[in-house]
């Protein structure tokens, strides 16, 4: 579902996932805290460049950006009208404020810049490696497990969903706008939850039988190579420049 891009080959694919995680994390912090448009636009460009280097196909990229931007669209419906400040113009009885528009623009740029970086990370790294990298970076075990199992069982739940869907289909179910349809969907969601819960229980039992004590061990060895050091330094410098531009108000 999400991993189909992880087998491509690009410079970024070959980098150590630990380095990538750290960079994405630092980048996100700086972008989230930044306020100046110079910095934000810079981060957006930077994100685009990284995505291009990771050779993410345009179609996949757009597919992944749409959900985030749908959310942002909702912000645009409210923020320009509800934020106090200098009035730009009126839309009927509603005043659009300058600060509101700026605020919404900032959020749009920030989220897209961060999403680009995240897409580059996820698209260039198998999910399992990300999990193990998180583990090696001493991120709490519970978060790593949550991440790992969420990913693994999205597939299982999705398949369960397909099975249920087929079973109602072969009995002639056609969705309409009526109570029968809603009821059927409600049953489906309910069944999905209960079945997932049961499965989780059985999987846990199976893990216990194989001596699970709360640790996941990795068979992979990560190694930090020259490439990693060079790109890490480069990225750090870029992030620091962004930070300096923001807080020292240069340019």
């Amino acid at each position: 579902m999400f991993e189909e891009l992880a087998n491509n080959d690009s410079f970024i694919h070959g980098l150590d996932p630990r380095g990538k995680l750290i960079i994405v994390f630092l980048f996100s912090i700086v972008v989230a805290a930044a306020d100046r448009f110079q910095v934000l636009l810079g981060s957006l460009t930077f994100g685009l460049l990284i995505v291009l280097t990771a050779k993410v196909p345009a179609r996949e990229l757009i597919k992944r950006l749409i959900p985030v931007n749908m959310l942002i669209l909702f912000l645009w419906l409210f923020l320009p009208f509800t934020f106090g400040g200098e009035t730009l113009f009126f839309m009927g009885p509603l005043a659009v404020t300058r600060e509101g528009v700026f605020y919404a623009t900032r959020i749009s740029i920030k989220s897209n810049a961060m999403m680009l970086m995240l897409i580059a990370l996820v698209a260039s790294t198998p999910i399992f490696s990300i999990g193990h990298a998180m583990h090696q970076l001493k991120i709490p075990k519970k978060i790593v497990h949550l991440f790992f199992f969420t990913y693994r069982y999205i597939h299982a739940i999705y398949r369960e969903y397909l099975r249920l869907k087929n079973s109602i289909k072969i009995r002639g179910f056609i969705p309409k706008t009526d109570l029968h349809t809603y009821k059927t969907y409600a049953y489906m969601v309910g069944m999905l939850l209960v079945r997932s819960f049961d499965r989780a229980h059985r999987v846990h039992n199976a893990m216990l039988c194989r001596g699970f004590k709360g640790d996941l061990y990795s068979l992979k060895k990560f190694s930090f190579k020259t490439n990693d050091i060079v790109s890490m330094v480069f990225m750090m410098v870029m992030i620091v420049i962004m930070g300096v531009m923001e807080w020292a108000q240069i340019i």
Partner: protein, 242 residues
């Protein structure tokens, strides 16, 4: 047989799911080293429940469990049991959870404290033993039903258990895979209990076939050396040949 060959003793085990009727009632069972037991019985007769009780996944409401001459009561007592007794789940999807076959097979050995290299070696050997060489990097949830079953068996065997509990290992398998499974079980020098509805399969690879009924194991059904090759009119249920 001396008591050093005794692996497990269940005495007076009773169990019921909360609010439900008794699934197991005063059940007794002894398993000795080298025993190869087949277990049959109608759906809902408590076969799977029995396995889960042996593994400590369910706690009996009454009765005592002794495994390797040690009484087993708490979760802690069973951690040791799980190193020596391997359970193959009915649904392979419950058993496989790692993305790749190799990682899943190595999960058990790593939990037992083996080093990365040891775990790798054990896993590759086990896969090889089951005729699954080349499967290491396959994605577990994309395997076929038969492959899933064999990989599940690999995950259990990789822990190098002394006893196997197999819960309907043949369900959903084609004839060819069933024969593979049969060969594997014959080559292994292990004690095992197999739940199955297929009497022909059990007759080939077990020494005793017991039936479950009324929450108990009925011990009167020894496997006699009776040769009969036919589509069985009685299906999976208890019957006698005179």
């Amino acid at each position: 047989m001396g008591s050093n060959h005794l692996i497990l003793t269940l005495e007076d085990i009773s169990f019921n799911y909360s609010g439900g009727p008794k699934v197991l009632a005063d059940l007794d069972l002894q398993l000795f080293k080298g025993d190869r037991i087949g277990l049959m019985g109608p759906n809902g007769s408590g076969k799977t429940t029995l396995f889960q009780i042996i593994m400590g996944l369910l706690k009996p409401s009454y009765g005592s469990i002794e495994i390797y001459n040690t009484p087993r009561k708490t979760e802690k007592d069973f951690i040791d049991v799980r190193k020596k007794i391997g359970l193959l789940f009915q649904d392979a999807d419950d058993q496989l959870f790692s993305p790749t076959v190799l990682e899943d097979v190595a999960f058990g050995p790593l939990n037992l404290g083996k080093s990365r290299d040891e775990a790798l070696e054990i896993s590759l050997n086990t896969l090889n033993f089951l005729g699954l060489s080349g499967f290491e990097d396959r994605i577990t949830y994309k395997l076929s039903g038969g492959e899933k079953k064999l990989v599940s068996l690999a995950t259990v065997l990789a822990m190098e258990p002394e006893v196997l509990l197999l819960d309907e290992p043949t369900s959903g398998l084609d004839e060819k895979t069933k024969i593979t499974l049969k060969n594997v079980l014959t080559r292994l020098d292990l004690s095992y209990i197999i739940i199955s509805h297929e009497i022909d399969f059990l007759a080939d690879i077990t020494d005793h076939i017991y039936t479950m009924g009324n929450g108990k194991i009925l011990f009167d059904q020894e496997v006699h050396a009776h040769q009969h090759v036919h589509a069985h009119p009685h299906g999976a249920y208890v019957h006698e040949h005179k």
